[in-house]
């Protein structure tokens, strides 16, 4: 069966200098049917009917059975959380011991309603690495849609699962997956009036948490570099609170720029070469950008107002930000050189924390109205506003790299209350909590790791 390999990809060895480095090498793609999506995505209506998919436990010989089972469980959890798939109860499966090397008995999968079937195995190689194979079957057409095999070190088994989930997601929806990604956030502990805040990073499903700072200084609003293993964030560890850059592999950090006052609300440009942020000047805050190579800073706004939360369009040509120059917090879009600022938010309430979708088609924001805090999206021209979630306090949306899902924090009131991380997709129908050990806020999604 594996001799019918249609194309052999050159090994996609990842850069070896990276801690993420990888380990996961895609070796081959087996013959697959012409591309067609089984899942149609409608962002306004919601997928009322998630695609029923069967994911039997991956098989593994002897001692590998457990990790094989774990891999398929993570794939299943990823797909379920997306809201686009409904993994079927294994108790309903008729065909047992389905084998990755032989076509399944489609007739025994159709009656249980499975439209797609993922079959796989994980085995340990002589060199200690894991070898994972999987096939994605279109049950009704009786055709293979995808077949791939990967090698990785055993400690990297979760990434293996996320990469397979991404492949299945992409093949069935026609859109890039976002499971092999990470989230940087602020981990919070201690009482509400004496919170200790630490930068932390984890897989998008909450696994593999690693702390990046010790908690001896207040840290806020981390953002991923789109191109390097770096985050930019605000910290209170100097005379004035400032924006920093932190290399998440080496731990090396530096102040961004040599500004006379407090800098805050940083974010990278799409090419990773600039950091745009606010600089406090007396009672006002204006937006500046610093080129990380030349270290040159440029002022983008000059108003007697609070201008903050800048975020670039994915092509780098424009910047959305919030300003109270008109009397209350509203969203504005300007050219990347600071010219031509125009207000885009006009609904009732205050608008804050705008962030441009990596697809370019939408801007997500926090909206405050009548004591309610909402997460919503609008088009860059301000049209088509939709509220995706609302409640006592929802704040600070950040996009998944495929522009389908927003991660944000939801705070609960009172002395014992605290923030936790949630995701909502563009339909607004699929809210999921991202599990964290304690309170967590200020999430930002990494780009795809590959």
């Amino acid at each position: 069966m594996f001799s019918t390999v249609a194309s052999r990809l050159s090994a996609l060895a990842r850069s070896t200098g990276s801690a993420l480095a990888c380990v996961v090498v895609l070796v081959a793609i087996f013959a697959s049917a012409p591309a067609h999506a089984l899942v149609e995505i409608d962002v306004t209506q919601g997928n009322v009917e998630p695609l029923p998919i069967a994911i039997p436990d991956f098989s593994g010989p002897g001692g590998d059975a457990e990790v094989a089972k774990d891999v398929s469980a993570v794939i299943s959890a990823d797909l379920r959380r997306s809201g686009l798939f409904r993994p079927l109860d294994p108790a309903s499966f008729i065909e047992q011991n389905v084998n990755v090397g032989t076509p399944p008995q489609f007739g025994s999968w159709r009656p249980i309603g499975a439209q797609a079937l993922v079959v796989g195995s994980v085995t340990r190689q002589g060199d200690g690495r894991l070898r994972a194979e999987f096939r994605l079957w279109d049950v009704f057409a009786g055709e293979q849609m995808l077949g791939q095999q990967f090698f990785t070190t055993p400690d990297n088994w979760r990434r293996l699962a996320h990469i397979i989930a991404d492949a299945v997601y992409e093949r069935l929806t026609g859109e890039k997956g976002y499971f092999d990604t990470r989230i940087v956030f602020v981990s919070e502990s201690g009482p509400k009036d004496q919170r200790v805040k630490r930068l932390a990073i984890m897989d998008q499903d909450g696994a593999n948490v690693r702390y990046l700072t010790r908690g001896d200084s207040l840290v806020l609003t981390p953002r991923f570099s789109p191109t390097r293993q770096e985050v930019t964030y605000m910290a209170y560890s100097d005379e004035a609170p400032r924006v920093y850059l932190l290399n998440i592999e080496t731990g090396q950090r530096e102040v961004v720029g040599n500004f006379p006052g407090m800098t805050f609300a940083p974010r990278f440009s799409p090419d990773g070469q600039k950091v745009v942020m606010s600089l406090q000047q007396g009672g006002n805050s204006n937006i500046y950008v610093m080129d990380l190579r030349s270290r040159r800073t440029t002022r983008l706004t000059n108003s007697p107002a609070i201008d903050t939360s800048p975020s670039y369009a994915p092509d780098g040509s424009r910047v959305v930000f919030e300003s109270d120059r008109g009397g209350s917090q509203q969203l504005y879009v300007m050219n990347a050189d600071g010219s031509g600022a125009e207000r885009i938010s006009f609904g009732p309430g205050r608008y804050s924390t705008p962030v441009w979708s990596p697809r370019g088609d939408l801007i997500a924001f926090t909206k405050m109205h009548q004591g309610r805090f909402m997460i919503g999206v609008m088009r860059p021209d301000g049209q088509g506003e939709r509220i995706l979630t609302e409640g006592y306090h929802n704040e600070g949306p950040a996009w998944s790299p495929n522009g389908r899902v927003l991660v944000f924090f939801r705070d609960t009131p009172g002395a014992s209350g605290g923030p936790q991380l949630w995701t909502v997709d563009l339909t607004g129908y699929n809210e999921q909590r991202v599990p964290t050990e304690g309170f967590a806020s200020d999430p930002a999604w990494s780009p795809s790791l590959d």
Binding site: P191, R195, L220, S237, E239, I306, T353, M368, P413
Partner: protein
């Protein structure tokens, strides 16, 4: 790359002082009018007999008549005890977004700074910092707490000396 150790130690010292003053303020609230016997010119004297903080309306940084009255007393005291430098901390309640509240806290701290300068305190004795909504003093979820958190606190930097 940076001399973090030195700077961080200095900052921690400031934080400890601020904590002591806050506790002193709390104690005074409970025994209002009974502790007028703080040593004149001491940090306790400033907190108890002058008042170390002013409060703001929601999303505002304008100084109320009551705030101006407190700041008049602060200016008088600081003019008299010129050995002190101060840090003015600006704060916001939790009912705003993080970045905006950092800017709003800065605006409040600057409103206090500008007022004290107008009342004759040298700019060189005054430093401002904003904590946004990161350092509430009251943690309930209604207006009674939020009004206490929308504040600017004048912290004496060398009260221990």
């Amino acid at each position: 790359m940076m001399q973090m150790g030195m700077v961080a130690r200095g900052f921690r010292f400031a934080a400890i002082v601020a904590t002591v003053l806050t506790l002193a303020a709390c104690a005074q609230t409970k025994t209002d009018g009974l502790t007028g016997n703080a040593t004149p010119g001491s940090g306790q004297d400033f907190v108890v007999n002058v008042g170390d903080r002013v409060f703001f309306s929601e999303d505002q940084s304008t100084l109320s008549a009551q705030a101006r009255s407190t700041l008049d007393k602060q200016a008088q005291w600081l003019n008299k005890y010129s050995r002190y430098t101060v840090t003015i901390e600006g704060h916001a309640d939790e009912r705003g977004t993080r970045q905006y509240n950092i800017a709003l806290g800065a605006r409040r701290a600057n409103a206090v700074r500008d007022y004290l300068v107008a009342k004759g305190i040298s700019d060189s004795r005054l430093r401002t910092i904003s904590y946004g909504k990161e350092r509430p003093v009251a943690v309930c979820n209604d207006e009674s707490c939020w009004t206490q958190n929308r504040r600017a606190v004048t912290v004496l930097n060398n009260a221990g000396s």
